[in-house]
Amino acid sequence: MAKRIDVTDLNVYYGAFKAVEGVTMTIEPRSVTAFIGPSGCGKSTFLRTLNRMHEVIAGGRVEGKVMLDDQDLYAPRMDPVAVRRTVGMVFQRPNPFPTMSIYDNVAAGLRLNGVKNKKTLDGIVESSLQGANLWAEVKDRLNKPGAGLSGGQQQRLCIARAIAVQPQVLLMDEPCSALDPISTLAIEDLVGELKNEFTIVIVTHNMQQAARVSDRTAFFNLRATGEPGRLVEIADTTKIFNNPSEQATEDYISGRFG
């Protein structure tokens, strides 16, 4: 249920603008990899290339190679829709479907892909909500609107929705930045549990969070605005935070920069 991601020499463009340059990294299965770095260095941009969500943006394109185990995500015959079913995503702002109930939100990915069997859906909705640590809070109001939950609950609902389609990899772009500390803690705990099943990549601006939840940390930086962002280094989180190889990493982590 979890796959390794191998990225080789990846460049990402928005039209003529090169946003990310020359990223090569390996993301280990069943672990949490955190992306840190100053604003605008291309963390979100790079993250979105891991499930081809950058293609949704006009002008977005990549050069380079992304392998999911032995599948080439950018092979000419690869269907981006299939890629996104395998590599799920959770966004910065909770975005439950406003017209749908809690149940329907979680079931949305399956329903919209044609799963109709009520028993199957019931089972997956329950296990996904349990997986997202939300079941106890919502089990008595599954038919209430998803937009009526608190921000933290909505974000966990979005995580439940993402894991309901049973992806191999879960990408999270600053999933806690719109949440209070308690909800943030709930999500962090959840990430710790989810890594037993999924490969998780999480973008965060919160250094403590990266240190708390991740096994490996990648530091991105950009030399100047207008320049493309680059991967400075990726290593075990303890190494990045205690003994980074690059001066820039050390500066960023100790707050002397960015």
């Binding site: 969500m53 975005n95 479907f97 929705r161």
Partner: protein, 338 residues
């Protein structure tokens, strides 16, 4: 002049002074002058307060002016509206309460006669609106979906431009166009359907523009959420985007319907009035409420005809109102849950 008193006091007050009960009188001000008044550079408070006081005074004047203008505009809209409603209701309501109005047609009823009803015209107007909507709504919604979700480049711009032009076409021109094609070129007879076709031309741009506006309101995050679940784009558009915009789209359709139901020029040219029931849209004359109004207006010298005219006008207003209510119910049932 509370502004003045406040300014006077504020200027003499220093921020260092403890906040006294005196502040109570400031509560109605949006921004009490002793809060947030310390400039970052640590300038003397008095200067800062004075600076804050003046724009505030200016704002109060602007606020009052805007209020007057707004109420004036509101009155300018509401007075004629109430007046129209009063006139139509007072002249027309009697007929609507008569037993035959909702069941009979005007067959064999001459201008000076009483009796008969408007059933034929009500049915005709509803049928024509229905046929028009059945053709115009899908075309309009699909066009809007194309423009918002798919269209890029010259084709989309050309379509958008065409819709702009279409929405500026006078109804009589649309009618003449259909006449030229339908009657002159193809030699088909004038009919309710021909009139409906010209109404389609008038309704499409209304639907396109209102649907477009509603689709643009759907946050991109929802589309992305669906894509990230591995949902194909067209399913996302149908099940998420259109679904989320549903109530707005319904409202747009109703506005479009309201617009065409009272349209008269195309009927004058393409669908001559009849006092009989007529359920065949493809052949012969066709009764509609605007044409009934027009007919009786021609005989306005007869008190009976004048009354019928007001009755038909009130009926038309009520139909549009009823459609709006139905639409609102549908829209509410299908709108975003919170």
């Amino acid at each position: 002049m509370s502004t003045l008193t406040r300014e006077g006091r504020a200027a003499g007050e220093s921020r260092a002074q403890p906040r006294s009960g005196d502040r109570l009188s400031d509560q109605h001000d949006q921004q009490p002058p002793d809060e947030g008044a310390t400039p970052p550079g640590g300038r003397p408070d008095d200067a800062a307060l004075e600076e804050m006081g003046n724009p505030h005074h200016g704002r109060a004047v602007k606020d009052a002016a805007a209020r007057v203008v707004m109420w004036g505009a509101f009155g300018a809209v509401i007075v004629p509206l109430v007046w129209i409603l009063y006139t139509v209701v007072s002249h027309g309501v009697n007929l609507l309460l008569s037993s035959t109005w909702w069941t009979n047609n005007q067959r064999n009823i001459n201008s000076g006669d009483t009796g008969g009803g408007a059933r034929h015209a009500i049915e005709g107007t509803l049928m024509m609106a229905g046929v028009t909507a059945v053709i115009a709504v899908p075309i309009g919604i699909l066009t809007a979906v194309y423009l918002v979700e798919y269209g890029r480049g010259p084709l989309a711009r050309a379509i958008s431009f065409t819709v702009d032009i279409l929405s500026g076409i006078p109804s009589i021109v649309a009618a003449l166009f259909v006449y030229a094609v339908w009657v002159t070129t193809f030699g088909i007879e004038r009919s309710g359907f021909a009139a409906a076709l010209s109404l389609v031309l008038l309704m499409i741009p209304v639907i396109v523009r209102s649907t477009e506006a509603m689709l643009l309101l759907v946050p991109n995050e929802l589309r992305e959420a669906a894509y990230a679940l591995g949902v194909p784009k067209w399913v996302t558009v149908v099940k998420v985007v259109l679904r989320t915009a549903f109530s707005g789209i319904v409202t747009g359709v109703l506005l479009g319907l309201a617009r065409i139901m009272g349209e008269t020029a195309p009927l004058l040219i393409l669908a001559p009035y009849t006092k009989n029931f007529q359920r065949d849209l493809l052949h012969g004359n066709f009764p509609t409420l605007p044409m009934m109004i027009n007919q009786d207006r021609g005989d306005i010298g007869f008190a009976t005809a004048a009354e019928r005219m007001w009755g038909a006008a009130l009926t038309l207003i009520l139909l549009v109102l009823l459609l709006n209510v139905i639409g609102r119910v549908i829209a509410r049932a299908g709108s975003a849950k919170t």
